[in-house]
Amino acid sequence: MRVVIAEDLALLRDGLTRLLRDNGFEVVAAVGDGDALVTSVLLERPDVAIVDIRLPPTFRDEGVRAALTLRDRSPDTGVLIVSQYIEQAYASELLADGRGGLGYLLKDRIMDVDDFVAAVRRVGEGGTALDPEVVAQLLSKRKPLDVLSARELEVLGLMAEGRSNAAIAGRLVLTVGAVEKHVASILAKLRLPPSSEDHRRVLAVLAYLREA
């Protein structure tokens, strides 16, 4: 899988490059600002771009803006935002077009290397990877979730993060069959169309959670 990295701190940029190379990714470019990111993505057409939010020159929300540009101009490239902080405002802007191939994670999550690598791969394949903090804020905003049982809420949360049934089963120590049953029940209770494809289902759930 081909990756472009945009991160202004050399220490983190090099660390991330090494980590991804060790895990079998091909890092085709590692740049330090938003403009360079857009240029190299349009040139290299990677599967996924990993983007920090705060980039030169203003160190504000360049990463988010560059990501939105990429969504528009290189729709096949997945965008994974990594940042020191999670802001719901950014999450809403990024999710607004309702398409997959998108992630927003705290940089802390990079420490769980296996999980992080799986997230990069998922975004590159058109899936989603949302930080548990984003999901928690989405869940807290959306009130009528009382119809779900505690277990179903747990499953819904993991689903919203973008995880597959198998991953959810692994996380909750359940069988895949049991997870599938919970998922079917959640979709039925929230009146969402059943779908066998993980990515599409996740997008439906996110759309549901965002319409507050």
Partner: protein, 526 residues
Amino acid sequence: MRAARTLLFLLASVPLAALALAVLLTGWIVTSVLAITPLGVPALVGFRAGVGGVAWLDAELANRLLGTSASPTLRSPGPSGFWNSGLNVLRDPAFWRQQAYLLASLPLGFGGAVAAWSLLAASLGSLTLPVWYRWNAPELGSWDVDTLGRALLGVPVGILGLVILFGLLRLLDAMTRRVVTGALDGREGVAGPSRSERRRSLAVHAVATVAINLFLIVIWAVTSRGYFWPEWTLIALGLPLAIHAWVVLVEEHPEIARRQRISSGLATREGIALSFSIFFVLVWAVTGGGYFWPLWPILLFAVGFAIRIVSEYSRRGERISELETTRAGAVEQQESELERIERDLHDGAQARLVALGMSLGMAEQKLATDPVAAQELLAEARQGTREALEELRSLARGIHPPVLTDRGLAAAIEALATRTPVEVDVSVKLPQRPPRAVETAAYFVAAEGLANAGKHANAGHVDIGVRADGGNLVVEVVDDGSGGADPAGNGLRGLAQRVEALDGTLAVDSPVGGPTTIRAVMPCEW
């Protein structure tokens, strides 16, 4: 039909324009005579309403006949108070625009009406020439229209005249509609007039003044040519133009007042007094000199100026001591804030990093001998890193939340609300983003209010409102908790110092049993 309406409008606007000129002249003369007494202020406010009223009549006529939808204002917005109500009028671009419109409508409306109605009469006469030439054969130079053949030539001329008339009416219609909408519609945004709007109203006013004076001078020139009576309108209309220009100048260039070491309010007033003085001297001059009576109003102005200077200096003394207090408060608040950050770093992230280093060191030792224990230590180290990051993040947010800079108050307060377990209603209604310092202070008022509601008051619901109120930004946090918040407590005192450093006030109303209202009002230039 449309053309008939335009013709009617033109006809009706002539007496209206004459009325407008009468109102403007008497208004300014009465106001200027009263200006040497405090009665000048109510006179000016009344005059403003009079101008608005005539403008309203004009707009109403245009709305009915031409289909515009202008609604001129009758009052000038701005801070309340006796002197302010006068200054508000002078600072109001709508007032000046209305005057400019009324001034300009006399020559323009008059010219348009004369042109259109004479063209109509001439065209109709020409068109019906074959009918009436028998009784009253007109002569065109040496050419008598006394046969039917010749009279029939009048028909195409009449038709041509009507075509031109329709074109002219269309043009006048479009022009009037634009001018009425542009000059008389008074709907200004909450933000008040902008720089360019102020300048535009001054330019329009100047052009209108010049136009009407030229018009009257032309009338004087083609009629009697005796006594130069337009000098009266020159003086009477020059006075408001001078005042208007001065008000705009002081507003746009505050450095003029600063260089004289006086406030801009005082500079405005003194400029107006000077304009009136010149006005009186000119009146004295055109009435043939004699006893120099303008001495008395000028003397009165000078005394008023002296009194105001003295009071301004004494007020300035009070202001200096107030600034000294708030500056000391701001410095103290900054100090204690830095101290808190240092303590948080020392006890939190730094300590965690030390522990992390120890875990890693031990893991390195055990790697060869006891890989299982090493693995455990590494997992511990990773957990420690995560906690350190968590702490640093909340510390950074407490210093300055990034989303505030990027997305403004509404997004930042919403983000605060989602992180609080309490139910929060947020309403941010601002015409535009306030200056950074005010924005940050407003954010921390909301943050501190929320923290209080959650921590001490056991509140279940909090309302946070941010709005613009005149030249102020108001933040209000109301919770339904148990009350009893101590304004002298650490958090609220620091907050008060922060707000006071921006010339604002923080009021905490928290009776035991609740509810608690925290309200910050900060001056804010929009």
